[in-house]
């Protein structure tokens, strides 16, 4: 990737990626850092992008990075503390409380469940579209989404889960 392409990508997609990070992390400051990390990775791995739209690819990098951060956060801070939004900062549209919980559930789920939930809830794909995007059956997507809800319910009623149990 050329430096000019990086700048162009940022001008086109920087806001979208930042918005995505704010929605997941519920923190402008952390989203600023995440945005930098996402574009750094994009710069390093742009050669792996083959004819795909850049934005969904950048979203995938952002989702993985943000969920890693959420998992680190979940490991170090008690459930009582992370249940409430951490900061009173402006965030992207959407229910702040709901997105905060959404992030916590993502952090507690295994990666395949995370990927399905992000595509279904944040990107608003249908279950068929999620299945096509992930290369699995609709039934599998349905099961993963059910698992996601179950982890969310358990998080709300039974407290903190460890990473990768969803």
């Amino acid at each position: 990737m050329e430096a000019a392409t990086l700048e162009q990508w940022y001008a086109l997609y920087g806001y979208a990626v930042h918005r995505r990070c704010v929605r997941l992390l519920q923190s402008e400051a952390e989203a600023d850092d995440a945005l930098h990390e996402v574009f750094l990775r994009a710069w390093r791995y742009a050669h792996t992008l083959e004819g795909e739209e850049p934005l969904p690819w950048l979203y995938r990098i952002a989702d993985r990075h943000c969920v890693d951060l959420l998992r680190q956060r979940a490991r170090h801070v008690s459930t009582e503390e992370v249940r409430a939004p951490a900061v009173d900062e402006p965030v992207a549209p959407g229910s702040s409380e709901q997105l905060h919980l959404f992030g916590q559930v993502l952090a507690a789920c295994k990666d395949p469940v995370r990927d399905a939930a992000v595509l279904y809830y944040l990107d608003e794909l249908t279950q068929d579209e999620v299945a096509e995007s992930l290369g699995c059956s609709r039934k599998t997507v349905k099961e993963r989404l059910a698992r996601f809800k179950a982890v969310g319910l358990q998080l709300l009623t039974g407290g903190r889960r460890k990473r990768g149990t969803g």
Binding site: G14, A16, W43, P56, V87, L99
Partner: protein
């Protein structure tokens, strides 16, 4: 149970997915459409047109605050630095032996619990032998957070975050006291007592945006086996401040350990 379905309410109402609208909204000008059906829907749907327009307007505002050239220059600068693995390799075979030798020398020469400061600012103090550490990360004008460096001056609007290191599981509370004796809780962002943390290094959730107060300030991290109440931390900081007649006070008398960071704040 919150089942998150409302997150996708727009799609359920028959509109294209958020991803499709965002791809359309942020597509390069003049680029051929890869989703003519989405474009056709947007042309005939006021709600989706408004959504796409809003995204584009928000992007324009975002780029005004965070210009593309400066951002890409910072990313390229980071890309030129050695990768994590390269840094680890350099550290393992280069810096580590020197650091171990230096650490041994320090342990032999300096008694544990001795204050590191001699009046120079900023200073970090360690109480007792427990290696509790506090690093202040500063983000200015939307730039990525960077560790506070000695001699840095903070300004109103700077966003602070905190990286702590604690040797074992316990509870953390961070408070600031300015040179007028005003105490402000920095962490947790909400709640009236310290927060449980696990052992090790972590960037604490949340951030603090500095107000326009100018002068010296002292941020103190309290690490304790049992939670501390905000009011007892505040009272202890005030007592220590009043006893010393300023910010150069001994660690407040509270259970556990504390570490402080002093900085100067100036107007913009």
């Amino acid at each position: 149970m919150n089942d998150f379905e409302s997150l996708r309410a727009s799609r359920e109402a028959g509109h294209p997915s958020a991803q499709a609208l965002e791809v359309l909204a942020f597509a390069p000008p003049g680029g051929g459409s890869q989703a003519p059906d989405v474009e056709a829907h947007v042309r005939g749907c006021e709600s989706c047109q408004a959504r796409v327009s809003l995204l584009r307007e928000e992007r324009a505002r975002f780029l005004q605050a965070r210009p593309a050239r400066a951002f890409s220059a910072r990313v390229l600068e980071s890309a030129r630095r050695p990768s994590v693995w390269e840094r680890y390799r350099l550290w393992l075979f280069g810096t580590l032996p020197v650091a171990v030798a230096a650490a041994v020398a320090v342990v032999l020469l300096v008694s544990p619990g001795m204050r590191s400061g001699n009046g120079d600012r900023p200073q970090v103090t360690f109480k007792g032998a427990t290696p509790v550490r506090l690093e202040v990360l500063v983000s200015r004008e939307g730039q990525p957070a960077a560790p506070f460096r000695p001699g840095d001056v903070l300004r109103a609007g700077d966003v602070l975050r905190f990286r702590s290191f604690v040797p074992e599981a316990g509870h953390v509370f961070i408070a600031n006291i300015d040179d007028a004796g005003q105490v402000t809780t920095y962490f947790p962002a909400s709640g009236a007592r310290s927060v449980p943390v696990e052992a090790g290094e972590q960037v604490l959730p949340g951030s603090v945006t500095l107000d326009d107060w100018t002068g010296d300030e002292r941020i103190t991290l309290f690490f304790s086996p049992e939670p501390l109440e905000a009011r007892e931390v505040e009272a202890a900081l005030r007592r220590a401040f009043e006893r010393a007649g300023g910010l150069d006070f001994e660690a407040p008398e509270l259970p556990g350990h504390s570490v402080s960071h002093v900085h100067r704040k100036e107007s913009r």
